[in-house]
């Protein structure tokens, strides 16, 4: 392991993507669960629970993309054309999801934007999962460009990862609502969380079984003893989180299911990292091959080191301001 600028930046990009996944994950999850809201008042509460923070959450996606452009321009230049369709569909879905927050309050027929909020959230999640699956499968490169076709991303495996992410986001959304609401809505979400938790763990399991067969290197990472012993920390942590998740639901805990669900994502992400390293774009582009020149990495790192802690501080402050249970009587701005 070489601890240099490119490695630090790979860590920072991974951090941005993970932060995006867990934060916008519960926003999108609420969108996915939106049709199950039993009344207009419940749906208002569901959406309002993230209205002050969703925009900041989504900005991590821009940092993931913009950061990749800045510090791994070759990876960005190869991955984006390879995932042309799912990325474009994701962007369009996010358009519908994003505008629904405000439009819903300005339209005569809110139903239209309820559907847009659900559809946008669902397809954004699906496309993100498909993109992940396509990346795990590996991307064909020739010279400095993508060399495959424009439907290479579509395989049973990528569809599977797509649905895994939809289910996982819905779980994050349900557990977030357990944290933020009371009464019937909370009871309803607690009920959903059982099934969603089981489904999330099940799909993670299935994806994990198939992943090592996508690339011999992955297989070696996970099944080549004794080197792969370190990798075993991932399933062990997953089992521990499963326990905290279900006992948390059982104990009527508001916070534990949410934190455990976040943990599922963090641990899965670490698992993907173990498979990928040292590749930026499997199967053949490494972090160091993809990295921009050091002068770019160093310049951008100065900003990241100063600004990311500040961003985390005021983001935490914004969450703190809007902490606690939702007040149903508080209207929109």
């Amino acid at each position: 392991m070489v601890f240099d600028l490119a490695f630090i930046w790979a860590g920072l990009i991974a951090f941005a993507v993970l932060t995006y996944v867990v934060l916008d994950g519960f926003d999108l999850g609420i969108g996915i669960l939106f049709p199950f809201g039993k009344s207009e008042a419940d749906r208002d509460l569901m959406m309002n629970s993230v209205a002050p923070v969703w925009d900041g959450n989504e900005t991590w996606l821009v940092l993931g993309g913009g950061g990749l452009f800045a510090v791994f321009p070759l990876a960005y230049a190869i991955v984006m054309p390879a995932l042309y369709m799912p990325i474009t569909l994701m962007l369009l879905a996010l358009v519908f999801r994003g505008v629904s927050f405000e439009y819903r309050w300005r339209a005569e027929k809110k139903g239209l934007w309820d559907v847009a909020f659900f559809g946008g959230s669902f397809f954004a999640a699906l496309c993100q999962g498909i993109a992940l699956g396509a990346l795990v499968q590996g991307i064909e490169i020739e010279g400095r460009a993508y060399a495959g076709g424009w439907f290479d991303w579509l395989t049973p495996f990528s569809v599977l990862t797509g649905f895994a992410v939809v289910v996982g986001y819905a779980l994050l959304g349900a557990t977030w609502l357990i944290l933020k609401t009371t009464g019937d809505l909370q009871v309803q979400m607690r009920g959903y969380a059982w099934w969603l938790g089981a489904a999330t763990l099940g799909t993670i399991g299935i994806v994990s079984i198939f992943t090592p067969f996508q690339d011999p290197i992955y297989f070696e990472r996970w099944f080549n003893l004794p080197g792969s012993l370190w990798s075993m920390i991932v399933p062990v942590l997953m089992i521990a989180l499963t326990w905290t998740f279900f006992t948390g639901l059982n104990d009527q805990s508001d916070l534990r299911p949410f934190l455990s669900a976040l943990g599922f994502f963090v641990v899965s992400f670490v698992g993907i990292g173990i498979s990928f390293y040292p590749m930026m774009v499997p199967p053949s582009l490494t972090i160091w091959e993809a990295a921009a020149p050091d002068s770019s990495l160093a310049f951008a790192l100065v900003g990241a080191v100063i600004l990311i802690p500040i961003i985390l501080a005021y983001t935490a402050y914004a969450y703190w301001v809007f902490r606690g249970k939702m007040d149903p009587s508080e209207g929109y701005h």
């Binding site: 993309g65 950061g67 230049a77 984006m80 042309y84 358009v95 994003g98 951008a300």
Partner: protein, 470 residues
């Protein structure tokens, strides 16, 4: 449907389409964020409820416009990769970090404090709320700064070298960020955003003054907007002129296209063409009407200074002249109308009839969208004018393209067109409907109160017409 078009032309059209839609929203939200900060500051200082009412009114409008800007902006940050991957690989090491700084120093700031600005006045107290409002405004300006640095570097590259795989490698970040056209472009764009917002606010104020000249919020916003129009327009015209001189120095071919100068004038006395039909085939300006010599004077050159034309430039290094020539004239023409509007309002104010000048108010409503048109025309001038390059003089547009097949680009282009017209069309409709209501309307959301038919002013408000002092 789009058969027969090359992947390049489709990708260019898609970028032009998505970026044109996108720029509309920041042009408005940059100015409006600053206006909101001013309104909130004035409310805290004077405790005049009119300012608070105006703040709450424009805040709701800002939220909708800002949301549209965010979602259309995310598309841009990925489109460099999906459609212009060779450009991304080559120019990424230089422009990428600037965009990363934009995300880190601007987008997070806006998004992080937007929630507090919109929802948090009661929760955090007035002072922190003011701070959040100021941070949103500051964030929009930071965003403009970085992205204009990126665009300016692509127009006037500096501070780089080229490595063995053809990537632009940063050598001097100071020169990259403060490249030769950046200060001019930044000033021109930020002033344009302020002016665009002032024209919208002025039009909304004018609309409500026409209905009720005693509407005190309408009077206040109209007055503020007209001060902006009369003060900022001359500054903007000066900034635009300086920007033009800078372009003449660094991108003379663009100026030739803007001016319709196909032919050289080695003896000087170049005409300033007011009208003409550019004919790229024949390389001449048909039906030209020009004023001899003014083409020299406008660029602060002596009358006998030689002025070179497109006849000195190979055909494959020329931009499409017609688009550049006409979009430039649209922008300048609208600028002159804005100047006229500002002077008219100053005259009405001096006569004490600012709130009682129906024709001025009607003119303001007509000019309400003119800022957006001028911004688009200006961007078309500068972006089409730098063709056929993405990085000026160094990387051709045709060499910047991603290896994506034409059918895929055609499909995404159609999807963007359909979705953008539907979604942003609806958003524009909602914005106009909110603007159609008085600032003092307690709730602008239709679901927040009884539904009223849009466009009908409640009788009680019409009765206020005879309030003394109106």
């Amino acid at each position: 449907m789009l058969d027969g078009f090359s992947a390049e032309i489709l990708a260019r059209f898609q970028f032009a389409f998505t970026v044109s839609f996108h720029i509309i929203f920041p042009s408005f939200s940059i100015g409006l964020a600053s206006y909101l900060a001013v309104l909130n500051g004035l409310w805290m200082r004077t405790r005049d409820e009119t300012y608070l009412t105006l703040f709450n009114y424009w805040k709701k409008i800002f939220a909708v416009a800002f949301g549209m800007g965010v979602v259309s902006g995310i598309v841009m940050s990925y489109q460099f990769g999906t459609n212009w991957s060779v450009f991304s690989d080559k120019a990424g090491p230089v422009v990428g970090p600037l965009m990363a700084y934009e995300v880190l120093s601007a987008f997070f700031l806006e998004a992080g404090f937007l929630g507090i600005m919109l929802f948090g006045r009661e929760r955090v107290g007035e002072k922190l709320h003011m701070f959040a409002t100021a941070m949103v405004a500051f964030g929009t300006l930071m965003s403009a700064t970085w992205i204009l640095s990126v665009n300016s570097w692509m127009q006037t590259p500096a501070g780089y070298s080229v490595n063995e795989v053809g990537q632009f490698v940063p050598e001097d970040w100071w020169q990259i960020v403060f490249n030769p056209s950046f200060p001019y472009r930044l000033a021109h764009m930020v002033l344009a955003a302020f002016l665009t917002t002032a024209l919208v606010v002025g039009a909304v104020g004018a609309l409500h003054l026409l209905r009720d000249k005693a509407d005190k919020e309408a009077r206040r916003m109209f007055s503020m907007a007209m001060w902006m129009a009369v003060i900022v327009t001359p500054i903007q015209i000066f900034a635009g002129h300086e920007h033009g001189l800078n372009t003449l120095e660094h991108q003379p071919v663009k100026i030739m296209a803007m001016e319709g100068h196909y032919e050289s004038h080695p003896e000087g006395w170049a005409p300033l063409y007011l009208f003409g039909i550019p004919n790229d085939e024949e390389q001449r300006l048909d039906y030209a009407i020009g004023i001899p010599g003014l083409g020299n004077l406008i660029f602060e050159k002596p009358l006998d200074y030689p002025v070179m034309g497109l006849d000195t430039i190979p055909d494959d290094e020329q931009p499409p002249v017609g688009i550049v020539f006409w979009s430039f004239r649209v922008m300048v023409g609208l600028g002159m109308l804005m100047l006229g509007l500002g002077l008219w309002s100053a005259w009405a104010r001096w006569r004490g009839r600012l709130y009682d000048a129906p024709w001025l108010h009607r003119a303001c409503i007509a000019m309400g969208p003119s800022g957006f048109v001028a911004v688009l025309a200006g961007w078309i001038t500068t972006e089409v004018g730098r063709q056929p390059y993405t990085v000026y003089g160094l990387l051709r547009t045709s060499d910047s393209l991603a290896p994506v097949d034409a059918p895929a680009v055609a499909a995404s282009l159609i999807a963007f067109i359909v979705v953008y017209f539907a979604v942003f069309g609806a958003g524009t409709f909602y914005l106009l409907r909110m603007m159609n209501k008085r600032a003092a309307t307690p709730k602008l959301g239709l679901r927040d109160g009884p539904i009223r038919t849009a466009g009908i002013t409640p009788a009680a408000q019409v009765d206020q017409d005879f309030i003394p002092g109106a």
